[in-house]
Symmetry: C2
Subunit: 222 residues, 2 copies
Amino acid sequence: MRRLYHLPLSPFCRKIRLTLAEKGIEVALIEEKVWERPIDFLRLNPACTVPVYVGREGRPMADSGAIFEYLEETGPEPRLLPADPADRAEARRLVGWFDDKFHNEVTANLVYERVNKRLRGAGYPDSAKVKAGSRNVKIHLDYIGWLTETRNWLAGDHLTIADFAAAAHLSCLDYCGDVPWEHNDSAKHWYARVKSRPAFRTLLQDRLPGFPPPAAYADLDF
Amino acid sequence: MRRLYHLPLSPFCRKIRLTLAEKGIEVALIEEKVWERPIDFLRLNPACTVPVYVGREGRPMADSGAIFEYLEETGPEPRLLPADPADRAEARRLVGWFDDKFHNEVTANLVYERVNKRLRGAGYPDSAKVKAGSRNVKIHLDYIGWLTETRNWLAGDHLTIADFAAAAHLSCLDYCGDVPWEHNDSAKHWYARVKSRPAFRTLLQDRLPGFPPPAAYADLDF
């Protein structure tokens, strides 16, 4: 069986879980405490990051971007990149926006400070970072709102990996109750559409011991 | 004419410049002081990062990963990704290794501390960071050495974008005299092979006002 080594609140893992579910590829999920640097896992990925995907051929693949492109090239429909190369570039640009910019400005400041630090026994959240993250998330919600007012989905007419990348980050924040949805109606409406897809169900069932999500987390009519 | 907005010592821009040169695509290089947040440039890329590529159709593209995939999908030979999907995943994993891990552990600690800070008038290098970067670069040279002892190029039998991503970072460090080449012979030998490619020439001619590179920087027999 195909395997995905992951962590529940990793946006990079969630992006791949959404991709797998949307394409109907079943995997066994294996939680991997990367901060303990398990020797067997280091053999699969010397960078010691999740996600790592192991397909039927048994060859481990690391880096969520590389895994996504592999699944897109070899996996079943639906395609999560547009057909036109310039449109594909736009979808990939937005993946970079969320996995790089949003990640550094928001996810790292909120989810990593509040949850990852405690899981790893690495101390208390840095309040300056939490404050910065709370401020930055509003700017990004406005950007999402603006995009979805001019386009059907983030990167154009169709759902793409850009929507999954963005929703993966926001779903991690949402688990912590850190998304001020009232700030931007268009962004909220877009998220409700992504959240109601069957592929999203597995994420909504995630529960971290000692960190229950707010009631709205799994509510499709939040 | 095609344009590339760039900064000379940006490893992400250098990766794209190498890709363009290897494929024989001519571009006008436009230096962009992103830290001044020029309003016209923000219109091209709201993330305000380089590289930004503008092709013949005039549509701006941001994010070096997205630009690379576009050039690979639409540009001329040689291909910089292998044909086999799992081999492609390995090449892309290594791009992620250098653009993410190496970038954070080495490039940001050395090049950004020594050069970018001064260019932007943002103060003096943080000596703890410089020290960490100098320590980390050796570990990465060993990884490169190990890869090239078991493979012809970093990702396999042929030169790929992984070699260019790695060489782009190392060439920025090399401009600052920050690569202890004597540390690993195999890594040095691999870099000499990449450096001697015609595509590399443009990088070796870069000169930053006030920051002359050491003599060995442009020397193919360093």
